[in-house]
């Protein structure tokens, strides 16, 4: 017999859902976790293969996953199929919605960059007058950041920069390579800080909910995980107005089922959680549900060569290592044609150069590749996208997914602020590279389509005012007190930073708040 009433129903198993499960079960609260996709078996589901054994010789299967630029023939089966779970957008405003429904979600594959938001993000409106402040600031989240950084084993170096807040690091004191030292020196003359990157090392090769969070939850005996079920809608008690469970469908058989719960926590990923709320027609007395969609600008970058490393002269002393240039624009100075700022990822590489960096072919190209081997130095941008009401998602009633659940329509585009910021990022990178004595080989000013960063944020934003926000500062729905949304949909602004540490910290904080509310009988 199924349980009459689950204590807490968690929808989603990625970083945010995994954190909820860990915190609540460790406090003695029973949870059921629903996940739309299957559990991965690393031994069974993958094998080493050469490209020539694949049907398309390593080319992505034409027409498959057209909006997942990160997909290739090797990894195509790990992403959500766009035909199975479609979404719509205006043809002149493409959006790349990149999803993983495997158990653990995108936490299985993320790039590990781990940053805190600063008060230049939390209180951005105080700084430049645009947008809305978060209802919390860095001091509210700092204790949670520290605990999360400890779980994920974030390596980094304290730099004392307010826009790049220091954290609970496994300290990175590795020496800089010669090429990096030259770049740092060039940056100093331009007042551009060049810092050590910050990255989650995780454990045993993974930094995922499935190895860092969920094992703790399972160890309590209070977590029940159900894969392969697609939630159709959250249900509500007509008398109390409280959330009381979910209707879902078995992914394989299409059998419709329902589960009752005392509390519902959405952690399905930013746009999936919002989609669920929109389809359920819940939690939107403010009218802003679906609005203020944000992500990060990715795509603009520069590729260079260090001349002294060419023709076999690359050494470990000269080449190698990475760096991070945190936001430096619009901190103490004002950029002429954009607000907010960007970061640059920097790499010094002793590996082969990409052939696209040379306008050559045949024997000439091969000679260049041989000569330039091991001399690569590149930069790529991560920029803040302004949070604007008109960038939004809604339900497309004309299209349903493979389980007949109405899909999202995404309406988002970048503005002059994003394009001007991109140009500044590339020009700054070029100027620094040339000042360091590097040869610039190629550069790109054009951002990738919105969504490419896989950092979609907002659409169920938090705030103190129920008229202008969906959630309160504890990720709790203003309208339905036993409904929490703990993924990145709660973000008010995005910053330049990878959002994972913030997602985890907010989820931890929200979970502890929920547990206390339950203990007090308020929820």
């Amino acid at each position: 017999m199924p349980e009459e009433n689950v204590d807490v129903l968690i929808v989603g198993s990625g970083h945010s859902g995994g954190m909820v499960a860990k915190i609540l079960t460790e406090k003695g609260i029973s949870c059921v976790m629903l996940n739309a996709g299957p559990i991965v078996d690393y031994q069974k589901d993958r094998e080493l293969k050469p490209a020539h054994e694949l049907p398309y010789r390593g080319f992505k299967m034409p027409g498959r996953l057209p909006h997942v630029f990160q997909a290739n023939e090797f990894n195509a089966n790990t992403w959500v199929d766009e035909k199975e779970v479609p979404y719509t957008f205006n043809q002149d405003q493409p959006y790349n919605w990149v999803r993983v429904r495997l158990f653990g979600g995108r936490s299985l594959f993320w790039a590990r960059q781990s940053f805190r938001l600063s008060n230049y993000e939390f209180k951005a409106k105080d700084h430049d007058g645009f947008g809305t402040n978060w209802p919390i600031d860095l001091s509210d989240l700092a204790p949670y950041y520290s605990r999360v950084e400890g779980i994920f084993r974030v390596s980094g170096h304290p730099d004392g920069l307010p826009q790049y807040p220091d954290g609970n690091f496994v300290v990175d004191d590795s020496p800089w390579s010669g090429s990096m030292q030259r770049f740092i020196a060039a940056g100093k003359k331009m007042n551009v800080p060049v810092c050590k990157p910050r990255s989650a090392m995780g454990r045993d090769g993974l930094a995922s909910s499935i190895n860092l969070l969920l094992p703790d939850a399972f160890a309590t005996g209070k977590l029940t995980a159900v894969p392969n079920v697609v939630v159709r809608e959250i249900t509500v008690d007509k008398n109390t107005g409280l959330a009381n469970g979910a209707n879902f469908v078995d992914r394989h058989s299409r059998r419709e089922m329902s589960v009752k719960a005392k509390v519902v926590v959405l952690a399905a990923g930013c746009l999936e959680s919002t989609r669920l709320l929109l389809n359920s027609k819940l939690a939107n007395s403010s009218g802003v549900l679906g609005h203020y969609l944000i992500d990060n600008i990715y795509g603009p970058g520069v590729v260079c060569s260090v001349p002294e490393a060419r023709d076999g002269k690359a050494t470990a002393d000269l080449m190698g290592g990475g760096a991070l240039i945190p936001r430096f624009r619009n901190i103490n100075t004002k950029a002429p044609n954009f607000i907010r700022g960007y970061a640059l990822n920097v790499w010094s590489s002793d590996r082969p150069m990409d052939s696209r960096n040379f306008a050559a072919y045949g024997v000439e190209l091969q000679k260049k590749l041989d000569s330039y081997y091991g001399s690569g130095f590149s930069m790529s941008m991560m920029g803040e996208v302004l949070s604007r009401y008109e960038n939004h998602v809604s339900i497309d009633k004309n299209v349903v997914d493979a389980w007949e659940i109405p899909v999202l329509h995404v309406d988002a585009k970048y503005s002059d602020n994003e394009f001007n910021m991109s140009r500044d990022a590339v020009d700054t990178g070029v100027a620094m590279a040339e000042a360091a004595g590097f040869e610039v080989l190629s550069k790109n000013y054009e951002p990738n389509p919105p969504g490419y960063s896989i950092h979609e944020l907002g659409t169920s934003r938090m705030g103190d005012d129920p008229k202008t926000s969906v959630l309160n500062k504890w990720n709790q729905s203003h309208d339905i007190k036993n409904l929490y949304v703990v993924d990145a949909s709660s973000f008010v602004s995005g910053g330049w930073q990878n959002p994972t540490m913030t997602i985890l910290s907010l989820s931890m904080r929200a979970s502890e708040h929920l547990a206390e509310q339950m203990r007090q009988g308020n929820v």
């Binding site: 080319f59 023939e73 990894n75 058989s253 590996r351 696209r356």
Partner: protein, 231 residues
Amino acid sequence: MRRRDFVKAIVAVPVTAIPIFGQNATPPTAEKTSEPQSTSTAAAPPTPETAPKPVAEPQSFGFQSPAIPSTIPDVIATTEQHYFHDEHMATLRKLGDILLPPMNGYPGSTQASAPEFIDFLISVSPVERQKMYRSGLDRLNSEAHQQFGIPFAQVNAQQADTLLRPWLRTWMVDHPPTEPFARFINVAHEDIRTATMNSQLWSIAATSAGERAPGIGWYWSPIDPDVQMYV
């Protein structure tokens, strides 16, 4: 001796495009539920001798699948020309010969059957990519006629360079040139290199040269695929 590294300069991403894909831990699996025993649906209780017995658990004999040595079809067969007409194919073959000839024991585009593979690839590609290739090959051929009075398939190296060099660009991933003909020349160059360097002949040449075989990566099979996809 520094290794020249044809092999490592391949375009195809050998491992997943997503960086840092730590993969040593075995994730926890859901608990298996025991299969229910089958029961009789007969109206009258069966006698013990005729009662259906519970389904026996299949015995494991420690069966190991025998290794079956196999090869890819390219080793024993050629790809049928399917999409481009003869003039297009001749232009594409010449383009491949120019852009990636055989070098230092490694096969060139023709030897690796890259034009034939690209013919197949474009035949199943979206309309926009098909159009880019057709109009690009047409223009290349047309320019050869205009400048040298011969089809592109017959130009010499010098003539080919005159036609191609003005259109070569440097570019970054996901951002090829936007001008249509430049886009074709540079994307086709990329495709020819990928199809050639990801061929088995290239892999054999690399192994013979003592280089690491190229393009090896973690291939993910369909994971518990949706049964409806096969209905």
